[in-house]
Structures are given as structure tokens and as C-alpha cells.
């Protein structure tokens, strides 16, 4: 148990101690080696790097150095990432065995390990994180602490203004003041639909009920989105704090966070955060003598995409099948256990503390007319710098894909980007300069969604992509509404036929009609948006559908049934890469001589296409 005075003291002392994390001019004698401990880098053995660094420091008795595990730095493509502060030196693609050299050469010798420095897209060697083109156009608000603090240490969170917003709210603001601030900031729900957050808080506050709940939706089901996971892994306390502020505002003393069980690190860190907050008396009864009490509990999801829909999520917390409820009544009036409930997404909560501390005007000054603040995107697919990016609303897709993302690898061309996952649509070359905000994306037939942004190059077949998304929705449809349950299945069957070369005249029109029906007749957001990938790909790539159906051709070469691979002898340099990578061993040829594919043995896996540096292999 810590008093408010004690918390303030921790903040002051820790902040001075950790100044070197954010101040490159710090004259601290200490050095901090920050190692990314997010899911991406953990998969590439970052825990082993931490272990080695600590062991070597102990063995060599090195002083004034600390190894810190942090959340995600964002540039997953270059992971595992190690950063040395205060000098801000950025090491990429670090291996556990590099630990010794980092300690010996950098920490003891004061020399930079050149070979571990990161190469930027233009091949220049970059020393500092902020000099990377990946970071230049970013603005970190929701991800502010990710990659700066140790997420498992509450003191580090407190050092960087942690629980200061809660203090301000409890002692200086009335619930109505909070609602006004959130409303004026222009913050909208980051889960996808973009409902004004202030309104949602207000509705739940005025709803009558003896018990109210605050819920955090961390069921990040959109495949390809991982921003919520990264926030929970890198800065869990900011979500705890925001949920408490929400509780105070709407009059709730109990909160639930619903997290996917597929995110074990996030669950683990959030539990630590709850335990530490309880230990400090920040969660509990009569917090800091303010009269406000609040407690928080984790509920695990179990792998159902539909549970990201708010009412399905509530059903699931209550222990049932996650089938959406009819609205109204909205959760603000009859939510969890039929009580007034406020549900926000992780990223939405991650913005709250910053808005309270910096004011509504500050937040509203960032972004566009209708969409304020920043948005975090999980940039993936055929792009050089895959990872997590946070940009002001209004940034264009071109800036994200080319300036931040570094463009398309392997000399290929940009074909489309998908936002909004299985509920969204694709954005093509012609719309690539559209500023990204809720309205503009809707206007071009896509949606913001939770922030998955998948880039596709010209080797991707858009019919196959639509088929992929429909396969997903068929699996994930909860089955409550027939148009969604059966309709998506029929859509998938038609798409399967087309990609197998059995498409018929009139199929496109059938797809369009069925899509409209499904959208009109489904209860929840999943069904209402399930046909979006189909409609959007037909809208922008109708000619590809027609080619599949009428000419039996898949220009991208992805649809196996329509595939007949050959190597262009004019372009083939005989490097042998295709031969070495072919799992069916069906490519033959002498070095420096054009190679040939034995189509009778070819399993049409397409590995050779992706491996060929000369683009000599294509679909005939």
C-alpha cells in the first residue's frame, strides 16, 4: 500500500533515474540496454539475448549498465532489436551470440558494433532509432511508453507520468469534466467502427443501474492486426489507468478485460500490472482516500473472431457461446449481466491518459477534421518494413507504405492494401493518396477497422484474396443469422469454383446480389461486413474475375488450377536459386544456362516464382 505522497516521490526519483531513456543528452554514467520482449522478437529468441547479456555483465563484473526488457519498438522486420541508451544506438537482427560483442565493444569499449547497425531502405547505415525513415513520420501517443519502459515494473510506468491522470481525475475533475474533455478531444473508438468515445461514456454515465461495468475489448481477432497485443505487452498499466478513469466517470467499481488466450505474453503482463496496482493500493477500496473504489479482472477468450463484437464479447464473459445480441438495448443500458456497461478497445483506452494530461485541445490539434489523434497500424504483407506504426490521422497510404514501410520488396509493384481485415476492403493505386481517416476510407469502399494494414504486390490474386477472407468468415460466423451462416458459405463456394477454373457466366452478378442480401439481413457487424472483401475486389478488380471465368487465366499465378509455370529462357540467368528451393525437385538446368520446369512433377507451389531474382518465372 502506498499513499499518494509516496507515489509522487517514486515518480520524481524514478523519473530522474530513467531520464537517460528519453534524453539523448543525458550525462548519466549509467547505460541501459533495452531489448524488445514483444511477441515478434520473443519468437526470434530475444529472451535468450537478455539472458546472455545479463550473464556476461555479471561474469565480467561490468558496472553502471542495466538490461531492460521492453515492449515492442515497432520495427518487427528487423527484430530482435536492441537499443542502447542514452546514446540511442539501434542494433537490429541481433542474435543471442552477439551479446558478448555488445558488452565488450560497446559497453566496455565505448565503440559501436557496426555490423549490427540497421540498414535503411536506401542502404545507408543508421545509428540512431530516430534517424530511420521508418520512424520519421510517426507520432507515438498510444504507443508512447512501448519500447521505453519495462512493462513489468510499475515504478517505471509511474516515472513517466503513470497514474498522474488518475490523480488529476479523482481530485480535480468531476465525471462531467472528464466526459467533456474526452468529447472535445474528438477521440473515436479505435476498434473499427469509430463511434465517438465521449458519447459512449456519457450514455453509460446517465444510464441508471445499481451496478455498472467497464470492459476492455482486447479480443484482437482481425488476422494481421497486433496493435492491441503490443500495447498490453509494452504498456499494460496505461490500460489499467484508463479503465479506472472510465470507472470513475461512469460510476463503475468493477472492470473486465477480455483478452485472447492466443496472446500469452499480453495476458501475463496484464496480470502482473493488476497485481502491482493492487499491491500499491491503486486498485482497491477507497483509492488514495478519494472514496472511489475499483477492481479489475482478466477474462480469457478462446478463439472466436465474433467475440470482438461487443455484445458477443459480453456473452462470452458471461460464460456462454459468443453470439451477438440484438441491439437495442445497447450495452450502455443493458450490457454485462444486463447492467450498464462501457466497452472500449485497448487502443482507445491507451489514448485516454494522454488526453487527460495534455488536454482536449492538444489532442484535437492532431489529425483531420472528423478524425482526431493518431492511429496505430500493423503493417504487414509485401512491404519491406513490417511492424507497428503510429501516425497522425490524415497520413496517406502512400506515406505509410512507401515512406515508413520502405515500399514493396523484391522489385515488385504495389497492387493493393487491405484495411479493416475481413470486414474491410482494398485500396488500390488510384486511391493511394487518400488521407487515412474514418470517413475517407469509407468513401473509397474500405474501413478503418482495428488497424491491420496488409500490403499486396502484383503476385497476389485478388479473387484468391476474397476467397481467403470468405474462408475466414465462414469459419468464424457464429451461426445465429442464416444469411451470414449460409450466405457466406455460398459466396465461398462460388469463389472456389472461380479459382478452380470452373467459373460460369453470371457468377460475378450472383456474388454481388448475395453480398447485398447478407449485408442487409445480418444482425451484427460481422455479417454486415463479411461480403466487403468480395464487393471491394469486384469493384476494383472486376477484370481479374472476368479473366478467371472467361479466359481461365489467373494473371498473378496464384490459382493453382489455372497455373502453368514456365521459365522465360530470355530472362533466366541460370543462377539455380529456383532449383535449390524447389520442394518437388522438378527444375533442371546447368549453371548459367536457362532452367526448365518439368510440369508433370510440378506441385505448383510457386516457391520458384518468389525465389527468382530476375522475375523469369511466370504463369503461362
Amino acid at each position: 500500500m502506498k499513499s499518494l505522497e509516496e507515489i509522487k516521490k517514486i515518480r520524481e526519483e524514478k523519473r530522474a533515474e530513467l531520464d537517460l531513456r528519453v534524453n539523448t543528452a543525458s550525462n548519466s554514467r549509467e547505460k541501459h540496454i533495452l531489448v524488445c520482449h514483444g511477441t515478434g522478437c520473443t519468437s526470434s529468441k530475444s529472451p535468450k539475448i537478455i539472458e546472455n547479456l545479463r550473464r556476461i555483465i555479471e561474469e565480467k563484473n561490468v558496472e553502471n549498465v542495466r538490461v531492460v526488457q521492453t515492449g515492442c519498438f515497432g520495427l518487427c522486420a528487423k527484430g530482435p532489436i536492441v537499443i542502447i541508451r542514452p546514446e540511442d544506438v539501434f542494433y537490429s537482427l541481433v542474435k543471442p551470440e552477439d551479446a558478448e560483442e555488445i558488452i565488450e565493444k560497446h559497453i566496455i569499449g565505448g565503440e559501436i558494433v557496426e555490423r549490427l547497425l540497421c540498414k535503411d531502405v536506401d542502404n545507408s547505415v543508421v545509428k540512431k532509432l530516430d534517424d530511420l525513415s521508418f520512424y520519421k513520420k510517426q507520432k507515438r501517443i498510444a504507443l508512447k511508453n512501448c519500447g521505453v519502459i519495462d512493462p513489468e515494473n510499475i515504478d517505471e510506468y509511474i516515472a513517466f507520468d503513470g497514474y498522474k491522470a488518475l490523480e488529476k481525475v479523482l481530485f480535480e475533475m468531476s465525471p462531467d469534466d472528464v466526459i467533456k474533455t474526452i468529447t472535445d478531444s474528438g477521440l473515436r473508438g479505435r476498434g473499427g467502427a469509430g463511434f465517438p468515445t465521449g458519447k459512449k461514456w456519457e450514455f453509460t454515465k446517465i444510464a441508471e443501474g445499481d451496478q455498472k461495468y467497464v470492459v476492455c475489448n482486447a479480443d484482437e481477432g482481425d488476422p494481421g492486426a497486433f496493435m492491441d497485443r503490443s500495447i498490453l505487452e509494452g504498456d499494460p498499466h496505461c490500460v489499467v489507468e484508463a479503465m479506472m478513469i472510465a470507472g470513475y466517470t461512469i460510476g463503475a467499481n468493477k472492470g473486465y478485460i477480455y483478452v485472447r488466450a492466443e496472446y500469452p505474453i499480453a495476458v501475463h503482463r496484464f496480470q502482473i500490472a493488476i497485481d502491482q496496482a493492487r499491491e500499491y493500493g491503486i486498485l482497491g477500496e477507497n483509492i488514495w482516500g478519494s472514496g472511489f473504489s475499483f477492481d479489475l479482472e482478466i477474462r480469457l477468450g478462446a478463439g472466436a473472431f465474433v467475440c470482438g463484437e461487443e455484445t458477443a464479447l459480453l456473452e462470452s464473459i458471461e460464460g456462454r457461446r459468443g453470439q451477438p445480441r440484438l441491439k437495442p438495448p445497447f450495452p450502455a443500458n443493458a450490457g454485462l449481466f444486463q447492467k450498464p456497461t462501457l466497452i472500449n478497445n485497448v487502443e482507445t483506452y491507451a489514448n485516454i491518459t494522454k488526453i487527460i494530461l495534455n488536454g482536449a485541445d492538444w489532442y484535437a490539434s492532431i489529425g483531420t477534421e472528423g478524425s482526431k489523434g493518431t492511429k496505430v497500424f500493423a503493417l504487414g504483407g509485401n512491404v519491406v518494413n513490417t511492424g507497428l506504426v503510429e501516425v497522425p490521422m490524415g497520413t496517406t497510404l502512400r506515406e505509410i507504405v512507401f515512406d515508413i514501410g520502405g515500399g514493396i520488396p523484391n522489385g515488385r509493384k504495389f497492387k493493393a492494401a487491405q484495411t479493416g481485415g475481413p470486414s474491410g476492403g482494398c485500396i488500390t493505386e488510384e486511391n493511394i493518396d487518400t488521407p487515412i481517416d474514418y470517413e475517407s476510407l469509407k468513401a473509397i469502399g474500405s474501413m478503418m477497422g482495428s488497424g491491420g494494414l496488409i500490403v499486396m504486390d502484383d503476385s497476389k490474386c485478388m479473387v484468391n484474396l476474397a476467397k481467403f477472407y470468405l474462408g475466414f468468415t465462414v469459419d468464424e460466423s457464429c451461426g445465429k443469422c442464416t444469411p451470414c451462416r449460409v450466405g457466406t458459405k455460398r459466396l465461398l463456394e462460388i469463389l472456389e469454383r472461380i479459382t478452380e477454373g470452373k467459373g460460369e457466366e453470371g457468377d460475378i452478378e450472383k456474388l454481388e446480389k448475395l453480398s447485398r442480401n447478407i449485408k442487409n439481413a445480418s444482425v451484427c457487424g460481422l455479417g454486415q461486413t463479411a461480403p466487403n472483401p468480395v464487393e471491394s475486389t469486384i469493384k476494383f478488380f472486376r477484370h481479374e474475375y472476368e479473366e478467371h471465368i472467361k479466359e481461365g487465366k489467373c494473371r498473378a499465378g496464384e490459382c493453382k488450377a489455372l497455373m502453368n509455370l514456365w521459365i522465360d529462357p530470355e530472362k533466366c540467368k541460370g543462377c539455380g536459386l529456383c532449383k535449390r528451393n524447389c520442394p518437388a525437385n522438378c527444375i533442371t538446368g546447368e549453371v548459367k544456362q536457362p532452367h526448365v520446369i518439368d510440369t508433370s512433377k510440378c506441385i505448383k507451389c510457386g516457391t520458384c516464382i518468389t525465389k527468382c531474382p530476375f522475375h523469369a518465372i511466370s504463369n503461362k
Binding site: G40, E262, G301, I317, G319, G381, N382, T386, Y469, D475
Partner: protein, 163 residues
Amino acid sequence: MDEKRCEGCNGVDVELEEMLHKYKQDKSNLIQILNEVQEYYGYVPEKAQKAISEYLGIPMAEIYGVITFYARFTLKPKGKYHVAVCLGTACFVKGSEQILERAKSRLGIDIGETTKDGKYSLEATRCIGACGLAPVFTVNDEVYGKATVKMLDEILDKIDSEV
């Protein structure tokens, strides 16, 4: 805890009993308990379903409904080596379908199946959140990023040669 023992717990494993008693006899704890059971046994055995049913006062049919609704819960044990190929969008775009096809043909099983000898099981997962390393697949808890068909072959070769 003794006086709280329910009749349904009689005759079931001590572990299962301990798992149940960590939770209050509240219906909303069903999914929490199932998660723990799934984690422990690798599936949800019938005896566990029965015990949960009696403990929480939820009919077996309803529990079965919940188990089959959520992808994480399975009714059959997984193989000793559980291969899961990610079919999230980022992985799909980077060609994880080819890895899945290879895994299917090599192991001779379809998604959701276990080989007859119980050695391998195969699953297509939706996004494990390592999109920056796409395509990825996992074998038990080990994650393999920037994966290729060849990489899968090599890893399966290695497992095969160990036995």
C-alpha cells in the same frame, strides 16, 4: 476447501478437482475453467465436461455447445508434435498456404486431425500476432518465423530422425 467439495468431483482426478475449486461456482467461469482444462490435458476430456457440468450446474449439452463454438477447445487429444501453420492475412499474403499444403501432404492428415500413431497433429491458426515475421508456423511452443516449405521439411526431418 474440503467442505466445498461437490459430489460431481468424486472419482475424478485430483488435478481436475483442484482446477475446479480455484473458481467460484459461478456459471460465468465456464470458459475460464475450460481454458485451464484444455491447457492441462491438451483437450477437454468427457470426464472433465461431466465434472464441470456438476460443479457449475450447467447441462452437458450446453458445455458441449460452448466447447465446439470456440476454436481453442478440442474434444480430441493433440499429437505429441502439434504443428500449427498461421493463416492470418499477413502470413497468407506471404505464402503460408503453401506451407500448410506441404504439412498436409507430408503428414498425411487434414487440418484438425492427428496421425494414427499420435505423433503429429495439424492445425491452421488465425494470427498469433507475429505478423512482422510472416509467414510463421509453430511446432508445440516453438515459433518459426520467415518460414519456407523447405524450413518445414527440415524441421519435420529433424523430428523424424530423432525417434
